[in-house]
Amino acid sequence: MATTTSSAPSTTTREPAEPAVPTLIPAVDIYETESQFVLLADMPGVAADGVEVLTERDTLIVRGRAERQLPEPDYQEFEFGEYRRTFLITEDLDADSISAKLADGVLRVEIQKSDRLKPKKIPVHAE
């Protein structure tokens, strides 16, 4: 699995009257166990009903909306907005086996390896 996109510079002019929702790129970990790939994405502020995990052909898309709960802050180091990141699903992964859950602002997506990649024990026959 590999990341395919990062923030592309926008070529459109911004309407000052309607401030755009900031697009945020979640930090991710991707690791591989014997049977599956695990993707962890930090999406703080996103509630369970605000997250989506989609597959489109060979692309996995994770996105989520973090809504600000308070008025405009007087001091600000982070923003709420729309998290979005896409990943390439190679044929080594079983795209039909994807499962996802969200806890404490961390999205966990599990994708099973295709049978071809799973380790197989070969029986050794004694002669």
Partner: protein, 144 residues
């Protein structure tokens, strides 16, 4: 002109830093946190009835989250550990730091530690703080 340009220069610098972070997120993920300087990033809002501080800290082990208030300083501590099945695993990408953190923030107003309340929801720690009684603004009734 956008209202953002009226913000404090330091805050504008932070914003630029965040944009840089996002630009580099796909290229040099390991640099993300050092670029921000301090963890967790915070926002705060001042109102007549008190202050609210929000800290962005997803996936923290709840038992380790600790908030203390002394004078005008709020201190946040916590820990994020690796997933249990990640230890023997092979990483393809690793952008999410783990470990312990501590951040102390001076809000420059004396706070009442007894009335502080904290919640942790969807990876956001929210601390509601009241001013110390001696600095709480009092509304003066105007006699006719």
């Amino acid at each position: 002109m956008e209202p953002r340009s009226q913000r404090h220069p330091l805050q504008e610098m932070r914003r630029l830093q965040h944009q840089m972070e996002h630009l580099f997120a796909g290229l040099t993920p390991a640099l993300r946190w050092p670029l921000t300087g301090e963890f967790p990033p915070i926002n705060f809002t001042r109102k007549d009835d008190g202050l609210t501080l929000e800290a962005m800290c997803p996936g923290i082990d709840r038992g380790t989250l600790d908030v203390t208030v002394v004078g005008d300083v709020v201190t946040i501590r916590g820990q994020r550990t690796e997933e249990a099945d990640a230890a023997p695993a092979r990483y393809h990408r690793r952008e999410r730091p783990t470990g312990t953190f501590m951040r102390a923030v001076s809000l420059e107003e004396r706070l009442n530690p007894d009335s502080a309340e904290a919640t942790y929801r969807n990876g956001i720690l929210r601390v509601r703080l009241a001013r110390a009684p001696e600095v709480t603004p009092k509304k003066i009734a105007i006699k006719s």
